[in-house]
Symmetry: C2
Subunit: 285 residues, 2 copies
């Protein structure tokens, strides 16, 4: 549970109810928070920007499948701040409607990240099924409940919500599988003494540019926790870097790193400083 | 065209005929090379490993949508070498069967990267269509040719191959859009004087690890061209780095970098040294 204040306002998340995003909302805000379920990640960002919700919850990274590119690309464009992070263990189940026989299944529907996380299991166990991408796992469960012959891959919450039978449990290729979610809002968080800062970094397009970005972190003893590369979408084969590190933007060492980056004509967009999720192990630089 | 010798053997690629992978094969090997079309990227790797094909061609990176994760994950597991790279400009078209009216369309099928590359156009122009993922663009065109009411997003080659009508041309969100493909094989390439080397790097899971990986490149004046992060799939929130740089593994400076990395107990898997694609602009470090 969090100290983030709702003041009676709602939480936007990737719906419908029963998604892992919904689980993340429950973990942060508890069962009584008013919910605004959104059809896409873009809609979650838009709902918070337009004050239709106080906070938004979006997946940013899965421990098996990597970055959630939609969220990364929305972070490039948004003025929202990251105000918290939360890690949710992910178990995927293979499920079908009670009236559908196993030999009638011809298609499996799920979110693309979930299909990717269960790729090996599907090839080994259901090589004949066609794969269909749904906007969310819960949406996939809804489709499986309505369409004969269609199976879904989703979490237990979704099976319960749509009355499906679980045929096989914990089918994700990596048994120890978690997703990290971000909470988006408009205010900045105060330092707690155990914080993380997320940045988006635009470097010059020349040799050694990334090294010159990392050097100030090393000089000032600031530990990186994650680095991701995405196309800049400005010119072909031009990249931006998402760099997360330990500390709050108001910390002296972090301030020195940011000043040093600015001296090196590196453009830094501060995405937010927020309390580190615990007790999950820290990722490496 | 390339100096890679086929000796009468075939090229494995992500089929069916008409995919952008097929275009990449034509660009490297010309129209007379015997083809082995594969259903998945994993199958392309397997075909070359098992000597069912001499070379394999797989997409590795799109300039708008970023890394092709399937290929990255296959590179972790394979013993194959990267022997060449080729860049293909990508134009996506929205297409349908001649007998289908525009008002009958209820679904659009494409490869997940293509759906991602046309996300904004689809939201703006066809917000009501459900999205379905196919194994390739050409497979999507085949489905659109067979199923009434289904549109496809694919290249011109696929429209021609399956007799579809192009409704809207060049619909990708980023007009300047290219995909980089790798050619996989079993032999090593000799230095040409204008080469690139791809590596997979496992660092210690502790602060400053990435900095210590990049330092030798800076010290020996070796320019990075790309860095990508992927989950290691060994432990949660543990990462591996894909680092591409200028030069051949037999070059003196590169040799010094590799020795220095080895001294730092960084594990390096050499994925291959191969001639740089031209005349495309070089990416930055």
């Amino acid at each position: 549970m969090t100290d983030l204040q709702l003041n009676g306002r709602s939480i936007a998340f990737l719906g419908p109810p029963g998604t892992f995003s919904h689980s993340a909302v429950l973990k942060v805000f508890g069962p009584d928070a008013p919910l605004l379920d959104c059809a896409t990640i873009d809609d979650v960002f838009a709902a918070v920007s337009a004050d239709r919700a106080r906070y938004g919850v979006v997946p940013v990274e899965n421990s098996t499948e990597g970055a959630v590119n939609n969220t990364m690309d929305c972070l490039v464009a948004t003025d929202l701040k990251i105000v918290a992070e939360v890690v949710v263990p992910i178990e995927h189940h293979f499920m079908k409607a009670p009236g559908t026989g196993l030999n009638q299944l011809h298609k499996v529907v799920s979110h693309k990240q979930s299909l990717a996380q269960c790729r090996k299991w599907l090839v080994a166990n259901w090589p004949g099924l066609s794969l269909e991408e749904a906007a969310s796992n819960a949406q996939a469960a809804k489709i499986a409940a309505e369409q004969p012959g269609v199976a879904a891959i989703a979490g237990k919450m979704a099976a319960t919500a749509y009355g499906l039978e679980i045929v096989a449990s914990a089918i994700q290729d990596q048994k120890d599988n978690s997703t990290r979610f971000l909470v988006l809002g408009k205010q900045e968080r105060k330092p707690t003494g155990r914080d993380k800062t997320s940045t988006l970094i635009y470097t010059e397009n020349r040799p050694g540019a990334l090294f010159r970005v990392l050097e100030p972190f090393e000089q000032h003893g600031v530990s990186l926790t994650r680095i991701e590369t995405r196309p800049s979408k400005k010119e072909v084969w031009d990249y931006v870097f998402f760099i997360d590190f330990e500390g709050h933007a108001h910390d002296e060492a972090v301030h020195q790193v940011l000043t040093s980056l600015s001296d090196r004509t590196v453009e830094v967009k501060l995405l937010g400083s927020y309390p580190m999720a615990s007790p999950d192990p820290l990722p490496k630089s």
